[in-house]
């Protein structure tokens, strides 16, 4: 089918565009482009209005509230009207490539040759070739075994290192925000609604080789809001950057939780750790009851509970469709986070996990992955006095699935590779270090089927480095997303984002509310 709804939802944009061979086709493609965005917005409207669980979706379609009913009707009409036009346009186009990305679609195969290619999940190729077609990896391997397509644009990367685009599981780039001081729990709040797609912080992250990022609200709340998984494609709208992980519900992010001292404040915030846990538990119990009422309503619209954005989000968490990203530092807070996740059976990633080295076996036994941070000194807050680079090798030994994050602006996205490198000082293996900034983090965001390694069929997100990824002397030279070069150190404007310059990185220190 021409309109690939599935991948549209997956990427957050429609993966269709034609190759403009002639002016006529280019003209046609302009139509396509607008169509795509428009069609996508209608699809997005559907999925956002019913952004939730299978059962919920089914029932709500039958008994939407007055507003959503109207919107759904409009949506359906629009979609019906559009379909014939799609087919009309399809018949006009001689070459159609899918998938691709409208804003910066790859229009020609690309072959990166001669590079030291680190696939992360497979072999490392000393003299490797990476072939990219339609935004995806077509082939990767030794030069002798990979054929270069005749029409490919060849990128000579002799002497360079190629590896997957980096995946950051915890960042605050994009100038977004989360919940306010009116409550300690804001599951209904979406950071997606506040992010500035033109933020220079995205360019800065590209300069560091980051291509997929979990952008989160802060840790000053027990629940500060919904996070968003982004591809750092140059974009004017946030929708163009989304990585949708649940095609049915349209879920494109996780949920940020925090425990420990950051959320402790005056009421309505908790004043103690035990109160924090009680408040989170109470909220999840309400969500369970809400979920039960929806299920009990069955096919009877009259028995459906009124829509509650906060509880709907928590039901997504309870059903395993939305991952909890739980900020936690002290060893006992880590265990509390595990206790609550176990009680409610939700999926969780432990974030920061400063004291991880003290409870590595307990974390391993829990099977929750960890997203850790490296900071240049311990201290600065009571919970961070044990933040030591030895955590990573200890977690590795204990068998914990873990990765690093930037927490940008806490650490700078441009220097993300420093974090695993400092852990290597302490004994972390090179392979785990490579995984800790790529595939391990992709797993934490449910996007490991698409990013985090160089494998045929995956998104062609890769970086070209001047040398070893863990050397201070190595620079990221190019960043590619879905087969399109989106950052190049040879471009003077791009280079400024790597080094700094006048009014270049103005949101680089954009903070978020941590509490204290």
């Amino acid at each position: 089918m021409y309109l690939d709804k599935k991948s549209a939802k997956t990427t957050g944009v429609l993966r269709i565009i034609a190759i403009p061979d002639t002016i006529t086709e280019t003209f046609t493609n302009c139509f396509f482009y607008f169509f795509d965005l428009f069609a996508y917005s209608t699809l997005a409207t559907v999925s956002r209005q019913t952004p939730h669980l299978h059962s919920l979706l089914k029932i709500r379609n039958r008994i939407p509230g007055p507003n959503s009913q109207t919107r759904l009707m409009k949506t359906s009409l629009r979609t019906l009207l559009l379909l014939p036009l799609f087919y009309l346009l399809l018949s006009c186009s001689s070459k159609v490539y899918s998938p691709a990305v409208p804003a910066h679609a790859q229009d020609r195969p690309v072959a990166v040759t001669g590079a030291h290619i680190i696939t992360v999940t497979g072999e490392t190729h000393e003299n490797g070739t990476l072939v990219v077609r339609d935004g995806r990896i077509a082939a990767v391997g030794d030069a002798a075994t990979v054929a270069i397509p005749a029409d490919a644009e060849v990128i000579d990367a002799a002497g360079k290192v190629v590896m997957p685009g980096l995946v950051d599981s915890h960042s605050h780039i994009g100038e977004g925000d989360g919940g306010d001081r009116s409550a300690a729990l804001h599951p209904d709040v979406r950071i997606m609604d506040t992010i500035n797609p033109r933020s220079d912080s995205f360019r800065r992250a590209l300069a560091g080789g980051l291509t997929s990022v979990n952008v989160m609200p802060g840790s000053g709340h027990l629940i500060s809001g919904q996070t968003v998984y982004l591809k750092l494609r140059p974009a004017n709208t946030i929708e163009e950057m989304l990585i949708v992980v649940d095609e049915e519900s349209g879920i494109y992010g996780g949920l940020k939780l925090a425990n420990g001292t950051n959320p402790l404040r005056q009421p309505p915030f908790p004043g103690t750790r035990a109160k924090s846990a009680a408040m989170v538990r109470a909220q999840f119990i309400k969500a369970r009851e809400y979920q039960a009422r929806i299920e009990a309503a069955g096919d009877d619209p009259g028995r459906m509970p009124p829509r509650d954005l906060a509880l709907e989000t928590l039901v997504e968490v309870l059903e395993g469709k939305r991952i909890v990203h739980n900020h936690t530092h002290r060893h006992d807070d880590v265990l509390t986070a595990i206790r609550l996740a176990d009680e409610f059976g939700y999926r969780m990633v432990l974030h920061h996990v400063t004291d991880a080295w003290k409870v590595a076996d307990e974390i391993a036994a829990s099977a929750y992955p960890a997203s850790i941070i490296y900071i240049d000194s311990p201290g600065g807050k009571l919970e961070a006095i044990n933040l030591l680079p030895k955590s990573a090798p200890i977690l590795e030994k204990a068998g914990v699935d873990f990765g690093f994050h930037t927490d940008d602006p806490i650490t700078d996205s441009r220097l993300f590779l420093r974090s695993p490198a400092f852990a290597m000082r302490e004994g972390l293996s090179r392979q785990t270090a490579l995984e800790s900034v790529t595939i391990a983090n992709a797993r934490q965001m449910d996007i490991a089927d698409r990013v985090g390694s160089l494998e045929p069929g995956k998104d062609a997100d890769f970086i070209i480095l001047s040398g070893d990824p863990f050397s201070v002397y190595t620079r990221v030279e190019q960043t590619w997303i879905e087969g399109v070069k989106v950052w190049d150190i040879e471009d003077p404007e791009d280079r400024k984002h790597a080094t700094g310059g006048y009014k270049v990185n103005r949101s680089g220190g954009h903070g978020h509310y941590h509490g204290h």
Binding site: D376, L415, V472, Y473, R506
Partner: protein
Amino acid sequence: MRFSSQIFRPTSRTSIPDAVKRFVAQPAAVLTLIATLLFLAPPASSQIAVTADTVYTMEGEPLVNGVVLIRDGRIERVGTAADVAIPDGYTRYNGAVVTPGLIDARSVVGLAGYYNQEHDQDQLERSNALQPDLRAIDAYNAREELVGFLRQNGITTVHTGHAPGAIVSGQTMIVKTAGRTVDEALLDSTTALAITLGPGVRSQFDTPGTRSKGIAMLRQELIRAAEYAENRRDEDPERRPGRDLRLDALADMLNGRLFALITAHQSHDIMSALRLQREFGFLMLLDGASEAWMLLDEIREAGVTVILHPTMIRLRGETENASFTTAMKLEKAGIPFVFQSGFESYVPKTRVALFEAAVAVGYGLDREAALRALTITPATLFGMDHRLGSLEPGKDADLVIFNGDPFEYTSRPTHVFVNGILYHETD
């Protein structure tokens, strides 16, 4: 090291020879020294031989297969393995690279503590925007965890004291990162007055609320200090004003006994600092200087040394235009500069000058230039190159053994010696 409380005269920047003279004149102090050295003496021999593939002496070319002999806390001999035989009885240590102990040219460690709680934050007094009378020695916690943390990372000497954030926040001093008390650690009790220009002050105080008010307040106080100093020299004791600790300190700065350590990040604040220096003629250190790369000619002409912001400083507000390449540009422009850990209000509670230099090297600064800026340049700047900054017979035995390139992320200091004593051994 100094042990006499006499050296803590409020504002005098005591020169080393003075200190030695006073010191030797006090039998009690000498006894204290002996007792202290006995206490601090390492369990092993005080005769140490350090060997490495590369020894950066900072005196000429690096030595290949170098040897450094240490005896009684000082460097005894330096040379290649072919030239220097290791005598019997010397404890041997070996590594890939040896450098002199590193010098952090601007920090707040010992005053701004590890826990970041009210009780361990003494870097900025907020009752008054002009407090040149605040001495660093009265607040320095020699046993603060972050001091040990810096030492573990190869920093053996640190210029530390009051933080940026006030027009004059207080005094700074120079200490070794070893020693159980400030007295044991001290190299110079009163090095500079910490002065801040720009928007960083107005967030701390009701007044100054603007840049120009801050500069007006500073100029007025400096003029008062100059008049005070003049009047203090009046032949008629009756006409001499009573001692004023604040004006004492400012007068010492005007007389060149203390540096004016001026933190200024934006280009117009840097220009204001240079303007003040021309007006009052003090010895100036330009601190921070995020936009120094825009003013290379002006800074070079002013002849000031730049204590460059941490390379990885966060880009916000007045530091938004900071660049990873500034150190390289300063080097190319022939402007002397040194590295610092700086001040952080949150995390990391201290940076590490070595790591900041490493990123500058990664972005084009010559490696040996970076090492100079961590060793001999700050030693010379602070008038301590007779004791610190290079590996030369007679100098303090402060040195660091690395298991690889000192700037590489994946290599690290394995041994840190301060005054010939091994403090860290991590391999």
